[in-house]
Structure formats: C-alpha cells, structure tokens
C-alpha cells in the first residue's frame, strides 16, 4: 500500500481550523438538504429508486440508443473503455481543432480519468471555470467534496490564491473570478463539461449549476465535448427530469438549481454547426454491473452521504478519498480505480450506516464498503487484528472468570498487552465484566408478571449480556410492567464488528446461528425485542443480505423491534410524576430510519411527560470497537467526533443525557459528565 493513512489522519485532526470548517459546513448542508427533501413523499423516493434500478439494468441498451441518437443528430459518440482511451480521444479532438485553450465546467469524470494533466502534457492550457474547481486548480489540490470542491478552505485562504491584496470575502473573490475568467471564456477553442444526466433518446446532456459557467463553456467555443460515466444515462427526457427533480434538493437543498442547461448536437453555434462530442466512460463500470458493487451505478452524485459521514466530516475528502471522496467514493474508487486504492482508505468507514439512511436512492453503501474490506483483507492487509476478530470468544472466556479478567483490565501491564495484541487504546475505559451475565441474572431475578399479554425474546448483543446485564434487566422490568413476559434465548453476539471490518463469512456464521436461535421463538409467537439498536440493525438490515437462508432471515427481521418502537407500538404509558425532566437525547445511528425525522425514543419520552431535545450532530464516533482502537486507527478520530456531540448535548442545558445504545452511552459517559449520562432503560426503570 502506498498511502500512510495514519499519518494523513493525524495531520487532518491536528488542523483544527479545517475540522471546524468541515463540521460546520457539512452540518449546514445536511440540514438544508433535509429541509428540502421533506416535501417529498415516500413514493417520490420509491420512484427515483425504481428509475435508477432500471437505468442500471438497461445501461447497455441505452448506450446503443444514445450512440444512434447522437450520430443521427450530427454529433460524435465515443465509448471509452479506459481513462487512456477517453483522454486520447479528447486530446485528438483538441489537436485536430488546433486548440490552445480549453475551458471546463465541473466534471468528476474528468478528474477520474486525469484529463487536465493529459491535455496539459500536450501543451494545451486548461482552465476550470466552476468557482470551487478554480480554487482547487490554483491551489494545486484535488476536490475534497464533489459538490463543494473547496469546502475545506475558508475565504482568507482562498483570497490569497487568487491575487495579492484581494479582500478575503466571498463576494470580493467571486467578483474577481467573474472578471478574471471572462477572457478565457471568450477566447476558448474547446469547452469540456461533465453531465448530470443524459437522455439517450434525445442525445441530450443536462447540466445543473448555480453559477451558469456551463452555459458559457458549452455555447461559446466552436467545439464542445461532454465526458461522463455510463451511469449518467437514462432512456428518456421524462426520466431525466424526474431524476433532476430529486437530485437538486438532495444535493444543495434547493428546489432546483439556477440553471439546467440542455445541450444537444442539433443546436447551432455562432453561425455554423458546432462540433459536439459525447465521450462516455466505462472504466470498470460495465464490469461492476454483475457484481456486489453494482448498486454504485445508481448513485446520482448528490453528496448527501458526505454530509452525515462522521469520519469524512472531520477528516475531509483528501484523507477520506482517492480521486472520488466520501462514503460512496469508496465503491466508486473500487469500480473505477481498483480495489487496492479503495481498500487503502476503507478503514475510515466505521459502518454507522448513516450514508444509507441519507441516500435518496437507498443505496446500501455500508454493505458495499464491507464487501470492499472483505475482498481486500488478506490481500492488502487486515482491517482488524486477529484478537479483535475473535472479540466474541474473548468476551465469552473473560466472562467465565470476571474477577481475573477485570484484574487484567485494570492493570497497566494488562492494558499494555491488550493494546499490543488487540490494538485497544490504553486511554479508553473498558467496562468491567459483570460478575453475573444476563442469562443467569435474569433467571435469578425472575419476572413479576401474572397474566402476560405478550411474549418477547430479547436479542441483546454482548455489552448488555456480559458487561451491563443490570441495564438489560431494567429493560426487562419495564417490559414486565406493560405485561410482556421476556426470555433471553441462548445467542451469539450481533456480529457487527465482523461486518464492520469486512469479515463477512464469519459474520454470516454468526448471523445463521442467531437466526437459528431466534426463529423458533418467532414461530411460537414471540416478538423479538432488540435491546441494542445495533442488534436490531443487524437483524433487519444486514443478516438478510449475508445468509443464504433468506426466508428465515426475513421472518426474524419482520418480527424484530427496537425497544422504544415496541413500547410505543403496545401503548406503554407511565406518565412521570411532577413536571417531567429536561432531557437531551442522542439518536444512535443504527436506530435511524430513512425519512424518519423524529426518533421513536423521543416520542416515547415525550409521551411520558419529559421535555426532550435532540442533540442532532449525528454519530457519537464510538462505532463499537473502532473508537477503542489505538491512536489514529480509531481513538483519536473517535474522540474528535465525540466532542462535537458532547458540545451539542451540553448546549441544551438538559438535566440528563440519554441514549439507548450502550456503545454510545459509553462514549458519552467517558467524554461528558458521567453523572448526567443515563441509559434510556435506566431512566425508564427509575421512578422520577
């Protein structure tokens, strides 16, 4: 591997100004986007998914349709297998027209194929005209974000790039760029742009911008070249507009961009026919159609996933990316630049799953990233050390002799050894193993319930099972009070760390085991109540994808509920005595659902008479074992992410910080005031 990722992570985290710029900007983009897509109904998203699925399945047919339409309208069409093919074709067109100056409108595909440096190497001047791209070009950098390429820089650092003594305000810089770029627009011989969508039957490229630079790029020069990936193809103008209707709000949070420019070979230039070239780039895409990364091609490049990715939000796209950046950038990199380049930064994905929740096309980005890790493990490295991969066995053995285990966990030498062997950072507090696990504790405590109205089998994961069984018992007591009889079936861990680190075969074994343990209860009419959001996420989202026994997995998934969901569903209502509490709630990533804006747990707490504020910065940064991993492999980034959550919790002035994932609870308890941090189940169990 060529990259020293840990060094890059360290540098990014030490650039405190950049971390603040990024978190601030991306949170604003996220909120703007959420507001904009709120007007869409479930069926709008379903239609978009269906369009993109069809586009993907029909891409080969649409390529032929487009070729015919372009050639019949007097344009030139070229399907490039590789970046070299695409660059060579474009360079030939440029050379034939004796062009000295090329103006460009934003195109990630041209970044993918390295077009600028190719053209520069044959003596052509290339000028980027999108403001963000221009900044990046002058800085000699790569775009760190597909939508806002210079999001990592502030006005002061940008003004310095442009001219001496330029006022460091967005307005002054923009005025300067307008004047400065005019001469290039007016004298360019060739204009090159990307595409947001291409209608095959009309041979028409559609480009959305707010700046209007693509209008000058495509209209003034004698030769126009569009370079785009094959995934941009849709069969018809109707599909194109349906896609744009969803793309713009998902990207910038606008209803629509200032401009949508339709460019076809049919329109005339200045008094003569303009040369129109459409270069479609394959570069691994068509091959990917038949594999587990196929869904990548449904991406509409809105960058919604960037806004919520906890590690991207603090590290930025120069670390979290190769040429393509951000969460979806991982599968894009694997498809277009190869597995190794993707694997190199894949450890930055912590499998929070927020990207999938935010994606308007419902692309299973976290699963594809797990696949990338799985394929790269063994070949280019290991995503987790051997001991960490066997964390479940370690906990099981440790829990057999909790006293001894805790002695080791509490000793400096013990922690040193654990850091060396399992890569767990010594600074991280590890919760002690309970003297009695949940199986035994629940048997011993028994249940106070006479005529149960429902029966629930609890799926808990290992933190509650072996380290915090008393928190699980608090949940049992609450369930008992509403007339639910609980059992704790013999079960394994959720397997999330295996999924997270890309050990999918092993995860599949764990999944099959858990399904086999839970299914008999489902068949006997039990509900599966998951005491950890992650446990629920595994049953619902992941197991059906990684086991062969799809029907069984679906049967268990269908009967599975989160704790709060279950309580709401069955009318739990115990109004708090007095005025209720002022609470700040942290929403665990794995409890989130698409297009749901209010957490079930908040609904529940409000029903009980509490005042609840949502501290909505996103992930807490713990991500299971990842936040425990030593140094820049996890801990440092985890704490940086966690601190933004703590700030937002503290800002609420709430009496207690509440969450219902034990992993998040650990992170908050460690970084905030532990006396103010409560697990939801503890709160519900105690009379307040």
């Amino acid at each position: 591997m060529n990259r020293n990722l840990m060094k890059e992570v360290k540098e990014a985290l030490n650039n405190k100004r950049q971390v603040a710029n990024l978190v601030n900007a991306l949170t604003r983009m996220r909120d703007r986007r959420r507001e904009a897509v709120a007007r869409f109904a479930f069926k709008d998203f379903a239609e978009l998914k269906e369009i993109r699925r069809r586009n993907r399945l029909d891409v080969r047919r649409n390529i032929e349709k487009l070729r015919e339409a372009v050639e019949n309208s007097g344009g030139f069409f070229f399907l490039a297998d590789s970046p070299e093919d695409a660059c060579r074709y474009i360079a030939d067109v440029v050379a034939r027209s004796s062009a000295k100056l090329v103006v460009k409108s934003k195109s990630m595909t041209s970044e993918e194929i390295g077009l600028n440096s190719y053209l520069e190497s044959i003596g052509v001047e290339v000028v980027e005209t999108d403001l963000g791209e221009r900044i990046i070009q002058l800085a000699g950098e790569r775009p760190s974000h597909i939508l806002a390429p210079a999001v990592h820089r502030d006005a002061a650092s940008i003004a310095g790039l442009m001219a001496e003594n330029l006022e460091p305000s967005p307005k002054a810089i923009t005025r300067y760029v307008r004047e400065d770029l005019r001469r290039f627009f007016l004298n360019a011989d060739v204009g090159i742009s990307g595409a947001n969508v291409i209608s095959a039957e009309d041979a028409t490229v559609a480009i959305v911008t707010n700046e209007g630079n693509e209008r000058l790029v495509s209209s003034i020069p004698r030769v126009y070249i569009c370079v785009a990936g094959v995934e941009k193809l849709v069969p018809s103008m109707r599909d194109a507009l349906a896609l744009l209707r969803m793309l713009v709000p998902s990207a910038t949070g606008q209803v629509i961009s200032s401009y949508v420019t339709f460019i076809s070979p049919r329109s005339e230039g200045f008094g003569r026919t303009r040369e129109f070239h459409l270069v479609l780039v394959d570069n691994g895409r068509l091959k990917a159609l038949d594999g587990l990364l196929a869904e990548t091609l449904e991406c509409i490049r809105c960058s919604a996933c960037f806004n919520v990715c906890p590690t991207y939000r603090v590290l930025g796209g120069h670390v979290f990316g190769h040429i393509y950046t951000g969460p979806i950038g991982l599968p894009w990199t694997a498809v277009t630049h190869g597995l190794e380049k993707a694997y190199e930064f894949s450890s930055l994905c912590i499998s929070c799953g927020l990207c999938k929740v935010e994606c308007p096309v419902d692309i299973d980005i976290p699963f594809m990233i797990s696949v990338i890790k799985e394929r790269g493990n063994g070949m280019y490295g290991e995503a987790a050390p051997l001991l960490l991969r066997n964390y479940d066995k370690l906990i099981e053995i440790g829990a057999k002799m909790p006293r001894l285990s805790n002695l080791i966990l509490n000793s400096k030498l013990g922690r040193y050894v654990i850091e060396k062997l399992a890569g767990i950072d010594s600074r991280r507090k590890i919760p002690p193993l309970a003297s009695e696990n949940l199986y035994s504790l629940s048997r011993r405590m028994g249940q106070r319930i006479r005529n149960p109205i429902r029966k629930a089998a609890l799926f808990t994961d290992y933190l509650l099972m072996y380290m915090f069984p008393e928190i699980a018992m608090a949940a049992v007591k609450v369930l008992n009070r509403m007339g639910v009889y609980c059992v704790v079936p013999k079960q394994g861990s959720s397997g999330m760390p295996l999924i997270q680190y890309g050990y999918l075969k092993k995860a599949s074994k764990t999944a099959r085991y858990n399904i086999s343990r839970l299914l008999p209860f489902v068949r006997e009419g039990y509900d599966i109540v998951c005491l950890e959001p992650t446990a629920w996420y595994c049953l619902k989202e992941v197991y059906p994808r990684i086991v062969e026994e799809k029907e069984e997995a679906e049967a268990v998934a269908e009967s599975s509920f989160t704790f709060s969901e279950y309580l709401l569903l069955h009318g739990f209502n115990e109004p708090s005595s007095g005025d209720g509490l002022k609470l700040a709630y942290h929403w665990p990533c794995h409890a989130r659902e698409r297009n749901v804006v209010k957490p079930k747990s908040v609904e529940l707490l409000e029903r009980l008479g509490h005042e609840v504020m949502l501290a909505d910065v996103g992930c807490c940064g713990m991500a299971g074992t990842w936040g425990m991993r030593n140094g820049y492999k996890g801990y440092e980034t985890s704490v940086t992410i966690g601190k933004t959550l703590i700030e937002s919790l503290e800002k609420t002035k709430a009496q207690f910080f509440i969450t219902d994932s034990t992993v998040c609870y650990l992170q908050i308890r460690e970084l905030a005031d532990p006396r103010k941090t409560l697990h939801l189940y503890q709160l519900l169990d105690k009379p307040f």
Binding site: D154, N210, N213, S219, S267, G271
Partner: protein
C-alpha cells in the same frame, strides 16, 4: 390555472427572481425600459422572437446599442442586459424555460449582469416532469434549451451565497396576459 400562476410567482421569488405580474406585452416593454434606465444600461441584447420584435425596434429607436446574438461573441460580451422570451413557466420550481434557435442566442441570458424574461401567463404549467414534452419538442427542432430559476450564484466559499458569478446577478420575470 391561477393556482399555477401564484405558485410560479412564489417559487420563482423564493429562488431570487424578481417577478412582476403585468397586463400586456406593451406594459412589459415599458418596464424593460425603466429597468434599463435605472441600471444605466447602454448595450442590450434581445433574443429574437415574434414577441420581442417590437421591443427590438423600440430600443433601437431610443438610442440603445442593441446587439444581435448573431453579431458574434465580441459585441455580445459588452452587453449589460439581455431580454429573453420564455416558452414556458414551471410552477413547481418557479422556473422559466428559454429556448433559442442557436447557442449564440443562449448567451443573451448567460453573459450579461441583468436578464429580463418575458413570460406569457397561459404558458405556465404545473410540474417539472411534465415539461419533458416541450423540452423534447424544442430539442428536436434544434433549439438550445435552458431552465432559469433565479440569478447566477455560488455557495462555494464558506457556503455563503453570492450572486452574479458567471451569469446575471439580477433575473427579472415579467408575466403578461396572452
């Protein structure tokens, strides 16, 4: 119908277009001249169409340097205001659809700092997706089609909105009766 017009007005306004509802095309022309005077415009371009033909003559008569899109890029580049007839308005997004018979004429709405768009009330449709029929029709005739919704702008620096990046910083939409 009126519903669509009011939705158009509110969405276009929200996007930063300055929308004025007027009665006749003649009133629109009067307003155009007012804007040109207030802004101190001397060089103007009018996208040719049957609707704008009288305006073209009118402005020439008033001593404006009226540049034809066919005149070439150098004369066009000094134009301070462009006047474009819209083919369609889209209520859902507050968008106007401009179709020009050449790429050169597209620049009338792209190069100057001010863009005034004339829109016939009866050409306002409800939904963005429904516009596909018209867009297809124009393209098949060799027209260059543009959707315009508010001024040229950017949020590329610190996500702060600045108007007038490469295109107009003012977009005015004058709606008139048929």
């Amino acid at each position: 119908m009126t519903d669509a017009v009011s939705r158009f007005v509110s969405n276009a306004t929200a996007a930063g277009s300055e929308v004025v509802e007027l009665k006749t095309l003649g009133e629109c022309f009067k307003r155009v001249v007012e804007v040109l005077q207030v802004e101190g415009v001397k060089h103007v371009s009018v996208q040719p169409s049957s609707a704008t033909a009288p305006l073209y003559e009118m402005l020439r008569g008033m001593g404006y340097n009226v540049v034809s899109p066919a005149a070439g890029i150098k004369p066009l580049s000094v134009v301070e205001a462009g006047i474009s007839p819209a083919e369609l308005g889209i209520a859902e997004t507050g968008t106007v659809v401009v179709a020009t018979d050449s790429e050169a004429a597209r620049l009338v709405s792209a190069l100057p700092l001010i863009n005034i768009i004339l829109l016939d009330k009866s050409n306002i449709i409800e939904s963005l997706v429904d516009a596909h029929r018209w867009v297809r029709g124009f393209i098949s005739k060799g027209y260059a089609v543009s959707f315009i919704t508010g001024p040229s702008k950017t949020g590329d620096i610190e996500l702060k909105m600045v108007k007038g990046v490469h295109g107009p910083h003012r977009v005015l939409v004058f709606i008139h009766e048929s």
